[in-house]
């Protein structure tokens, strides 16, 4: 082949690639939300003079373009595999651990956020006459830190949770999930391999720990019949973009109690704790109580007189809630991201006997919705 031909080919390839990307960027509709990554994508930056002159516009635009690039999954996947093949971690946010496990990098430790969020909690505990307990869940990366392959930053979850517990004043019980998990004989099964959430087993372990603290009875593990559903790819899998990683099971721990659930999303009475139609969706974790809602109320007719529990929580309590329901007449879960009414009024008017604040460490340090706890 002549040089000229090759030159023309390289010209066409290069310019063609840039032009195709340019056109696709402009033509394709933009998503606000990435279902795969379960996060909101960057918005187009505001075109104010202040933004432009400070250089913030160009910075934000770059993030926006990276977030909305056509065929993002493909690009991220190639980059992840390249990083892995050349010896490093998948991305700066996702690490690979043994047994095909993907974990999040250490949550950004923020002393300021801890101080701020615990101050809202302490004020809330003082305001209500009901005992308040707190449970902060460590990240999967902390529990499996020793099995993480290659380069990583150190996890400080234990210290961070200790510092949260020491500055959250006036709690009745501080539930120590770190020790319960670290000492667990079946550590491998506490968290999903591809998702940041805990598994049913992990949630059950936390539930048992909590019930032991409250000195309340709870069903043994073998009293549940466990139903497995395959084909779950969690959020870490989507973020890492490693196409070749295997999927895993989600488990539904069932018993014969006739639970009923009402969420404020559809306000209909739902029989049973599991929304099994959600098993068809990409994010199968929403099978537990139907995913995130501002408020969820679970009734257990077999636990009359055993008290009512109000849980202020993030998504980790979707799964935990399905267990807590076994030990209380009613469990109500509120998510401060969406629930902006007075929680203390809800607590006193609803006749709750216990309150639990349950967050994952990374959400606790990054959530800006604690001011709604009033």
């Amino acid at each position: 082949m002549k040089s000229k031909k090759i030159n023309i080919i390289s010209l066409v390839l290069f310019l063609g690639f840039l032009a195709v990307m340019f056109v696709l960027y402009i033509v394709l509709p933009k998503n606000d939300f990435s279902e795969r990554e379960k996060r909101y994508l960057a918005d187009f930056p505001a075109t104010t003079w202040e933004n432009i002159s400070s250089g913030k516009f160009s910075e934000d635009l770059e993030t926006y373009l990276a977030d909305t690039i056509p065929r993002r999954d493909f690009f991220v996947g190639v980059s992840s595999y390249y990083n892995l093949i050349s010896g490093r971690q998948v991305t700066k946010d996702i690490y690979v651990a043994e047994n095909n496990r993907l974990v999040e990098a250490p949550p950004a430790y923020s002393d300021a956020a801890i101080k701020k969020n615990t101050s809202y909690i302490s004020a809330f505990a003082e305001k209500v006459d009901i005992p308040v307990d707190i449970m902060v869940v460590p990240s999967a990366g902390y529990i499996y830190e020793d099995s993480i392959k290659g380069l990583k930053n150190d996890y400080t979850d234990n210290e961070a949770i200790k510092s949260i517990y020491s500055s959250a004043k006036g709690m009745d019980n501080y539930i120590d999930i770190c020790s319960a998990f670290e000492e667990n004989e079946n550590k491998e099964s506490l968290y999903y391999l591809t998702d940041h959430h805990w598994t049913s087993f992990g949630a059950y372990t936390a539930y048992a720990e909590y019930m032991n603290t409250l000195d309340k009875p709870y069903p043994a593990q073998n009293e549940f019949s466990i139903e497995k559903h395959s084909g779950f790819y969690g959020s870490n899998h989507s973020r890492a973009g490693l196409w070749l990683y295997p999927s895993e099971d989600v488990e539904l721990w069932k018993n014969n109690t006739p639970f009923t659930v009402v969420t404020d999303t559809d306000k209909k009475v739902h029989n049973g704790l599991f929304y099994e139609e959600k098993l068809e969706e990409l994010d199968k974790y929403t099978v537990y109580l139907g995913g995130n809602h501002a408020k969820v109320s679970i009734d257990n007719p077999e636990a009359k007189g055993q008290g009512k529990l109000l849980v202020i929580r993030d998504s980790y309590a979707n799964c935990l809630g399905t267990f807590l329901a076994n030990s209380f007449e009613n469990v109500t879960l509120v998510d401060l991201r969406y629930y902006h009414d007075s929680v203390s009024e809800l607590a006193s008017e609803g006749g709750f006997t216990n309150i639990l604040i349950c967050y994952s460490l990374s959400n606790f340090m990054s959530d800006a919705n604690f001011p709604w706890l009033k």
């Binding site: 030159n7 250089g55 380069l151």
Partner: protein, 461 residues
């Protein structure tokens, strides 16, 4: 705007190429000037005025020099005014804060004085130096005056080399500015250079930078040496990658810039190193400072003083901070030692000894270059020379980067290029080259999307 950004690759570059090539030849310089101003204003629009002002001063001064010379009047005073104005701009925007703060620390009555916070305009050290080269070349009659302000503006603001060099001398591109011929071969080789530069930057420099960031404060001798080696590689690939991209982009528009790096890490003496590292800057200082000061023609004493001045300035050019000045003086001392006797000794030594000597000096130099804080530098130097164990976590980190470190080390030598040139020209070779470039481009694009670490070190200067 960064070359290694989505907005440059998918918006700026295709639009600019299209605008340029659909424009008739007479207005192509204008198109380049306009899009270059846009490029410059992208991150910091407020400094556009500074760019335009620099263009104006130098255009006018050169114009006056030229017309006075025609009238056989003295031109020296105009040159001095022009040079002083350029230096004032650079001095104010780059060095004022540093000088005032230094004064404050020694003069008690300055304590209450509010030191203004001035953000460094991107690329100012590069375009001010370019403008000065034009002015001096016109003064010396080495280059013809440029009567067209747009053409001159294009030379100063030309976006490929605007913010991180190479520092293109006016004499080298004077003709290209008015009569260049864009062609397919140049364009194709420009694409190749650009992709190679992009890969140097994204696939090697950024990763070496990430490694250095991770282990720079780690304990242990191994961590310290690997860390500073990674930083050395980051600097080279970052900067030479940028120069390659600039040269590649220049070719797409029909310009040919001189190379800026010639495998500096294979140098066999410090003298050799400075002939291979950031060549456009060393040439600038040689042409416009060293030789006018008398260079080596006025005896050894004068030469030593000249070397001291030139290298102190070179160091200081890199940033308004003491460590850069020390870094420059460090090299001037080494160069003086080499010039006076060491080169003769080195000549008799085996090759590998000379390489090791040079690379260690250069690497230690980069430590001086990196640490702004003297106490931190001292701590780091101590770590380099005190035997101590590196933690297993840090060893893990290092091991994870071994494949890339090896690739980077090999790529900083001409070994790859030599092997490549040994393969006989054939269709197969061309196809493989093309495929290789495509893979590199793909990896760059993917890495860019996954948005890891992407700073440009040389933007500070």
């Amino acid at each position: 705007m960064l070359f290694s950004s989505n907005v440059f690759l998918y918006f700026y570059l295709p639009v600019v190429l299209l605008l340029y090539y659909i424009s008739p030849r007479q207005i192509r310089n204008f198109v380049l000037f306009a899009v270059s101003l846009f490029f410059y204003g992208w991150g910091e629009p407020v400094y556009l005025f500074l760019m335009v002002f620099t263009v104006l001063i130098n255009y006018v001064c050169a114009f006056i020099i030229d017309s006075r010379r025609k009238k056989e009047k003295s031109t020296k005073s105009t040159l001095v005014i022009g040079v002083v104005l350029n230096l004032l701009l650079l001095g104010y925007f780059k060095y004022a804060t540093f000088f005032l703060e230094s004064l404050q620390s020694i003069l008690p009555f300055m304590k209450d004085f509010d030191v203004p916070e001035i953000t460094l305009p991107i690329g100012i050290s590069f375009y001010v130096f370019q403008s000065m080269s034009y002015l001096i070349d016109v003064y010396r009659d080495d280059a013809p005056v440029q009567k067209n302000p747009i053409t001159f503006g294009t030379y100063v603001a030309l976006f490929p080399q605007l913010i991180a060099g190479p520092i293109v001398r006016y004499t080298d591109v004077a003709r290209q500015l008015s009569e260049r011929k864009e062609n397919l071969d140049d364009f194709a080789s420009g694409i190749k250079m650009f992709i190679i530069g992009l890969a140097k930057k994204i696939l090697i420099a950024n990763q070496m930078g990430a490694l250095w960031e991770t282990i720079k404060s780690a304990d242990g001798t191994v961590a310290a040496w690997v860390g500073i080696a990674a930083y050395s590689l980051q600097l080279y690939f970052d900067f030479s990658g940028y120069s390659d991209m600039a040269i590649g982009l220049g070719r797409m528009f029909g310009f040919e810039f001189l190379i800026n790096f010639n495998y500096p890490y294979i140098s066999n003496s410090i003298t050799d190193f400075w002939r291979r590292w950031h060549m456009s800057l060393s040439t600038w200082f040689k042409e416009y400072v060293y030789i006018p000061l008398g260079g080596n023609r006025k005896g050894i004493k004068r030469q030593i003083i000249n070397l001291l001045i030139v290298w102190a300035l070179t160091g200081f050019w890199h940033g308004a901070s003491w460590n850069f000045l020390f870094w420059g003086i460090y090299y001037s001392i080494l160069l003086i030692i080499e010039k006076t006797f060491l080169l003769k000794v080195l000549d008799k030594l085996p090759k590998f000894v000379r390489h090791i000597y040079t690379i260690i000096i250069v690497i230690l130099g980069w430590a001086l270059f990196y640490f702004v804080d003297t106490a931190e530098l001292w701590e780091f130097i101590k770590k380099l020379f005190t035997p101590a164990a590196t933690s297993s976590a840090d060893i893990n980190t290092i091991l994870a980067y071994v494949p890339l470190l090896v690739v980077a080390a090999v790529a900083s030598t001409p070994l790859g290029a030599r092997l490549y040139n040994k393969v006989k020209e054939s269709t197969a070779k061309k196809v493989v080259t093309l495929a290789g470039l495509a893979v590199m481009m793909l990896l760059c694009v993917c890495t860019l999307v996954s948005q890891s670490y992407n700073p440009f070190i040389y933007f500070r200067f």
